[in-house]
Symmetry: C2
Amino acid sequence: MHGLMMETPLLVTEILRHAVRSSPNQEVVTRLVEGGMHRYTFKEAGERIAQLAHALVALGVGEGDRVGVMGWNTHRQLELYYATAGIGAVCHTINPRLGPENAGYVMNHARDKVVFYDETFLPLVKGLAPHLATVESYIALSATGALPEIGDKPVHNYESLIEKHPTTYDWPEFDERTACGLCYTSGTTGRPKGVLYTHRSTVLHALVLAQPNVGAFDRGDALLPVVPMFHVNAWGVPYAALMMGVKLVMPGPGLDGESLYEIFESEQVAYALGVPTVWLNLLNYVDQNNLSFSSLKHTMVGGAALSERIIKGFERHGVRVRQGWGMTEMSPIGTTNVEEDDWSELPEEERVQIQLRQGKAVPFMQMRIVDDEGNCLPHDGESDGHLQVKSPWVLSAYYEYDGQTLTDDGWFDTGDVVVIHPDGRMQITDRAKDVIKSGGEWLSTIDIENAALSHPAVANAAVIGMPHPKWQERPLLIVEMAKGANAEPAEILEFTRQQLPKISWPDDVQTVETIPLGATGKVLKTELRKQFADFTLPTV
Amino acid sequence: MHGLMMETPLLVTEILRHAVRSSPNQEVVTRLVEGGMHRYTFKEAGERIAQLAHALVALGVGEGDRVGVMGWNTHRQLELYYATAGIGAVCHTINPRLGPENAGYVMNHARDKVVFYDETFLPLVKGLAPHLATVESYIALSATGALPEIGDKPVHNYESLIEKHPTTYDWPEFDERTACGLCYTSGTTGRPKGVLYTHRSTVLHALVLAQPNVGAFDRGDALLPVVPMFHVNAWGVPYAALMMGVKLVMPGPGLDGESLYEIFESEQVAYALGVPTVWLNLLNYVDQNNLSFSSLKHTMVGGAALSERIIKGFERHGVRVRQGWGMTEMSPIGTTNVEEDDWSELPEEERVQIQLRQGKAVPFMQMRIVDDEGNCLPHDGESDGHLQVKSPWVLSAYYEYDGQTLTDDGWFDTGDVVVIHPDGRMQITDRAKDVIKSGGEWLSTIDIENAALSHPAVANAAVIGMPHPKWQERPLLIVEMAKGANAEPAEILEFTRQQLPKISWPDDVQTVETIPLGATGKVLKTELRKQFADFTLPTV
Ligand SMILES: Nc1ncnc2c1ncn2[C@@H]1O[C@H](COP(=O)(O)OP(=O)(O)OP(=O)(O)O)[C@@H](O)[C@H]1O
Ligand SMILES: Nc1ncnc2c1ncn2[C@@H]1O[C@H](COP(=O)(O)OP(=O)(O)OP(=O)(O)O)[C@@H](O)[C@H]1O
Ligand SMILES: [Mg+2]
Ligand SMILES: [Mg+2]
């Protein structure tokens, strides 16, 4: 029997409406790409979003059209999120770090109709323009001087484009399954694949992010997403912040340690979110300059595995570190590693080991582990297998994709190999594509990498499986040495082995100048595999 | 264009699943109706809910069947919420305070198939049984001795009924618009009307209740709903608490000041929710006995207007008071009166006046004010009119009802007359049915009542409109004197008038032994109107 409740759709528009009526005077502060700071209120944001919506319509953007955006975290990108969604169009956020080939690929694949870009990315956009088949016009977000020529397409200035329009918009109501955003995966394991978010998935994700066990933003916190709006909607922060009425601080292009520290202090940021590499840089800067944080209380770390160095680095400054795990395909949040009441009683090393796990599934995120034959495995902290998920904010199919996205019974296979501990905490042991199959056993490359990374002379490390006639595959350790370090590779190998069970011992070690990183700062093992394609293990 | 995200439904079952996997050891503590305390973990709750689901199916309860429940806030009623919803049946919570006539009416109207009752209500159930057309069996929730006879229907003991069943259940997946709960309005203004909640509306309501600007339960808080589970799902607390993994303390039948104080202290309750009358009783008890709260930090007050006495009474003890406004028809939450950063700088009297407003709309709650002609009025704090709402957790139609529930353009008229201040805060001036129309002006009965209530000799006060040949209607003040007070009615009238503009002066005052209260503790003006039907104002 159906109940009798209104069918009012879950629309992103409602988040904006709520922000403006409930917290009209709350602030959005931006470090501008063109220099200086910008600040305005939610009420003013609402007015400019209405202006932008009119401008988009005037540009010919209609329902379902893709609006490409290649920009830093700024109030203007925030406006684009809400204005595109509000008129039923799709905000396609483009990761400029994908590199020209992949960036061009995703823009053509998405068939972007217009493209908004920050000045920083003009050279990239100019280079791509001749290859972009569908783009009808370009809009410079942070232009200061004369507008450039980009092929033979019209180029507009964002501010002049919107200023002439009315500051209210009669937002339409439509089906909550309408698309509102498009984001491609990082391309760590292959070509980026597109995920087409809906208003429903975006709203539900924001509601869950706002939970104390997930984001746990305090109402009084100033929030700073270091995590870029050009990838997976900055983990949903631009939605949750407006819904909750918290101050939003946008770092613009300044993501290095010094710039971040400066804005944390000047805006009294209490909560920040980002990937591990960003935090390592910040902590290095703070420690080298003998600084301390006067307002920072919480960080959320995700996108790649959290390390002990980051936990301890922040805790020295009294900052809590919470790990999250997610994927582009999951909007992105799947788990958060919530603190437990009894942590304060645990020995530090034990507690840190728990914090290094990826965390507990958030509400409405179903998870199961299956083996290669598709059997469900127990959550005993021992059985490892493929993590599969199901949730209203997990994709049902990649955008314009011929392959099969879900399992036959409707789950999404994350490509991550994990165990789930009896307390519900999930722990990634590897990516399925990276796992090394040695004589019937699966070896975790993450474990070997972590062992190598704990050597002070190692700047970065990656392990790949090499063919082996007897064992099928055996691990090869590849290291990038820290600047000025002069340890012998053999010493690193020995050091690494000492921390591991014999079966996981790398068969050999090789050094490289730099370990290649992808668009979201993750090691590109695909590149390393190419590089070492002709290499033969000495044990063969 | 539709996005490409999973259509996974929002089911109450997912809240339970999440609670058990994420917070298996969190506690539910109950003061038992049969005496003593009961405590168990979320994990054990999950097991008993599965047992109950099997038992319900064995009783013949199928999809869409209504399961009547007349009980106190206990772990058993919690089990009924989740087990009925989980199998696709409908939990019909019955307010025992409706009195025999209305209670019988709603049980027949709902066509309850089985009825669960707490021992306390056995006399009521026995008396009703001969008139209940559809009930096939009765289950005693807190039976201790031999089972009673109830007509010729089978009577079971809850514990023996469930104990034989397996502790797991293969919960089905179904449409999120499936009904999961049924609750009737309080009957303050007429016959109770039924509201049929869906899984979707219940889940979304819980997600919003969990927001910092709404419920603001801290993860570490022990939560106690004084607000009964037999009316509007105890404001959604049984769902939000399990979703958030917070300790739930169930007061059972002990809702008097002494019992509440005792359980607050013994279970270190940090957050409690209830209607104004409950808090007045508690504060009286605490102050008369010179006690203080050792753990209580927050209260949420709603269901009727919050008074200055309660705000100041709690603040003296360092307890924050937040007002909420809602309706059975709204699941119930519509607004909460969120604290502002600048409140600490305001003079106390000014701040209290703001706290007495009903609050800001929660996210995804749309609100408008319309006049008698249906024109939308500005939110200027001056224009008063009918408050209309729209949200995924507002009803679309009353259950089995012939009349029109929504406006022609799909909004629900709350029956409350309000202003909305420029800061977004809504303030109720009256119920539309109680408002007095005097010479083209609307007089707020709440204002007059509040003026009278501030006289120390007045225990309760109500104002009704009496016919008047010249003015159409004029106010009559009806007062119930405080025990032992010996003020003259004329003095009360004079005192009341002094605080009001002349147009609102009551034309006369009358005293009554007790002012009649309805099922949720609100003044039954319908009764008073009957009682004073033959009365003529001296000014006529
Ligand atoms: N906290 C974390 N710890 C370890 N790994 C993480 C964490 N968070 C995310 N990841 C990794 O990042 C992946 C998701 O990243 P993203 O969606 O940005 O693209 P990608 O998987 O790197 O790229 P592609 O799918 O194109 O190969 C997860 O599947 C997981 O492997
Ligand atoms: N904080 C509050 N301040 C003032 N009034 C409130 C508040 N919260 C709720 N109310 C009143 O309670 C009403 C909702 O109560 P409920 O749904 O329990 O039934 P009822 O309206 O009393 O009964 P019926 O609809 O059967 O006459 C609201 O419409 C409003 O008039
Ligand atoms: Mg991936
Ligand atoms: Mg009502």
